[in-house]
């Protein structure tokens, strides 16, 4: 029962830091800023003739396609052009405007903001253990009548709670801002994707949005576990933040360098960006599927947490 007060304590510590409030405020400002800018800068009547625009695009793409084929160009580029043409044709046929904006579309567009959330969560997770070591406060905490794993668990849960709460705040803010800017409708709005077999399909935007929300929870958990582990092992927040950020951002680079290695699909890097797997488009490594990636991430998370707890339990605290 008293364990909950450990959790309360950690929560209070997180929110006593000024930076925490910036972490929450910054994404919200961006969400508002983008919507306002979009409203002010774009002429809503500009795309009234979107069908003609798309037709023009198709023509241009077709021409580019011919040229590329003639020059024996990059296969990836050819595929992309073909896919674009197909999607645009489908859009015209089925009357799906890519320019129709609703709050759901806005949420889909703003999905990359999750990188920012990931970044902030890494900072908090990387700091929550190591800063107590570097400031020496850890010894004031560990001499209480609680086993060490309980104290560490309170920190883990507090960080996860913070990460999830922040993500939820961002989601709700996006929905609200998007709704005020573009209207709350569009629950049945669709978008076009090309499935693996090259087939063109229509999908509900809400489906994408909710899948992305769910997957972000998983990604955040992995990031927290990673940052948490390094923070505990090295007792240094900068190392923790550095490594976790590297995993998150440099992942694509590492994959490019190592893409011909078979084991690449079992690395953390390859599986860190789950949202590309929702539609399977622009996917770097074709072998990856959602269930596979989630399983790999789950295994990594378990192992990282096990290491963290074992090391923390045994460590001599000389802070």
């Amino acid at each position: 029962m008293k364990w909950l007060s450990l959790l309360t304590n950690e929560w209070i510590k997180i929110f006593s830091r000024l930076r925490t409030w910036f972490f929450i405020l910054i994404p919200i400002l961006i969400i508002i800023g983008v919507a306002v800018y979009d409203k002010v800068a774009t002429d809503e009547t500009a795309h009234e003739n979107w069908k003609q625009e798309l037709t023009a695009n198709i023509e241009a793409d077709k021409k580019a396609l011919e040229d590329t084929k003639k020059e024996d160009g990059d296969e990836f580029f050819i595929e992309m052009l073909e896919s674009n043409i197909k999607q645009n044709e489908y859009a015209i046929e089925n009357n799906i405007s890519p320019y129709e904006k609703t709050t759901w579309q806005y949420m889909k567009d703003m999905a990359p903001i999750s990188f920012l959330i990931g970044l902030f969560v890494i900072v908090v997770a990387g700091d929550i253990v190591s800063s107590e070591f570097s400031k020496g406060t850890i010894k004031m905490l560990l001499i209480r009548p609680y086993s060490r794993w309980k104290i560490l668990l309170s920190k883990l849960i507090a960080t996860l709670g913070f990460a999830f709460a922040m993500w939820l705040v961002v989601i709700v803010s996006t929905w609200l801002v998007g709704g005020l800017a573009y209207g709350f409708g569009g629950i049945d709005q669709t978008y076009i994707v090309q499935s693996e077999g090259g087939q063109i399909k229509e999908k509900l935007i809400v489906e994408y949005v909710f899948a992305n929300i769910g997957l972000e929870f998983i990604e955040l958990t992995v990031l927290v576990a990673l940052s948490f582990m390094i923070s505990t092992l090295f007792m240094s927040n900068s190392v923790a933040i550095g490594v976790a950020m590297f995993t998150m951002f440099a992942g694509d680079l590492v994959i490019m360098l190592l893409q011909d290695k078979e084991w690449i699909i079992y690395t953390l890097f390859a599986n860190m960006d789950l949202s590309v797997l929702i539609d399977g488009q622009n996917q770097f490594i074709q072998e990856l599927t959602l269930p596979f990636s989630i399983t790999v991430l789950a295994v990594y998370t378990m192992v990282m947490l096990a290491i963290t707890f074992t090391v923390f339990q045994k460590r001599d605290v000389k802070a």
């Binding site: 008293k2 006593s16 020496g136 406060t137 001499i143 209480r144 000389k318």
Partner: protein
């Protein structure tokens, strides 16, 4: 029967093959102030870290209120309050919020108790300021406050007077005495001799991780530490000769015109005096002097052989 609230049995700490604390044993009684005295690097803080579970115990046992710290940590720590080295606090929070951190997770800390403790350490005026604005002494006071919050019956303070002003030291000493009178066992570590002498009931002298001896702090207890000064009007060397002829085992020393004899009970003093008088030596004064703890400490911990000489009878 005396109850022991804290017992160390052959406690040893080795780090990378280096023995830092070596077979340390002592018991702290209920209601006593027990001092750990030793030079820098003696192993005081290391010992305290083992007691409160911050570092592992290589060998031996620590019992708090008869509960083994290693086997049953949570129960053992329930009634322990401690400061290990400097109290490190959350700079970005107020003193009050810092206290609340610990109040929340310790059993039975009421609002009244929190206020009471703040008043006790004299921090009311600054308790709602951020800790980063605190002076060293104010941090120390807050550290003491957090250690006292849950009314521990074993209070362990590592160098508690560090940074305190004379008033603060005086208040702390009085308060610790009050706590001890009410049954709390207090363990304080320090390398400040005079302070330990004023504060403690018993002092364990530690050097190189080993127990040198445990001293009761009273006025003149152990005979060994009493020195008798004979003020001689005349030839001191002759007086020395007279006494050593009488008893060759006597330890004699000449300081100025005083002959210092390491001894002994009243009977021997009278006897020695008679010998001197009979030899025609003018004794103008006799004084008993107990060695101060400081003298004992320096004597025992100074580099060289006589450390071991003193240590041997203790270890028997």
């Amino acid at each position: 029967m005396t109850t022991h609230t804290l017992e160390l049995k052959n406690v040893t700490k080795r780090i990378k093959g280096k023995t830092i604390v070596d077979g340390l044993s002592f018991s702290v009684r209920e209601g006593e102030i027990f001092g750990l005295l030793g030079p820098n690097g003696a192993g005081k803080t290391t010992t305290i870290r083992m007691i409160v579970g911050l570092i592992s115990i290589t060998d031996g046992e620590v019992l708090v209120n008869n509960v083994n710290v290693r086997q049953n940590y949570e129960t053992a720590m329930e009634r322990v309050g401690a400061i290990v080295e400097n109290p490190q606090l959350y700079d970005y929070m107020t003193g009050y919020k810092n206290l609340m951190q610990y109040a929340r997770i310790m059993p039975d800390v009421t609002q009244e108790r929190i206020d009471e403790v703040i008043k006790l350490v004299d921090l009311e005026y600054a308790i709602h300021d951020k800790v980063k604005t605190y002076s060293l002494g104010m941090r120390q006071r807050l550290g003491v406050a957090q250690a006292l919050l849950h009314k521990p019956n074993v209070l362990i303070l590592d160098e508690p007077t560090n940074g305190l002003d004379p008033q603060g030291i005086y208040d702390l000493r009085n308060y610790l005495r009050l706590l001890a009178n009410n049954g709390t066992s207090v363990v304080v570590s320090s390398h400040m001799l005079a302070e330990m002498q004023m504060m403690c009931d018993r002092v364990a002298i530690i050097q190189n991780g080993k127990m040198v001896r445990i001293d009761e702090i009273t006025n003149h207890d152990e005979e060994k530490d009493v020195k008798v000064h004979f003020h001689i009007d005349g030839d001191v060397h002759q007086a020395k000769q007279v006494l050593s002829d009488g008893d060759t085992s006597l330890v004699l020393e000449i300081i100025g015109n005083e002959l210092v004899v390491e001894t002994a009970d009243n009977k021997t003093i009278a006897d020695l005096n008679r010998q001197l008088v009979l030899a025609g030596i003018l004794v103008v004064g006799i004084q008993r002097k107990t060695k101060t703890l400081e003298e004992r400490f320096l004597e025992m911990t100074k580099k060289g052989g006589n450390v071991n000489e003193v240590a041997i009878p203790v270890n028997k």
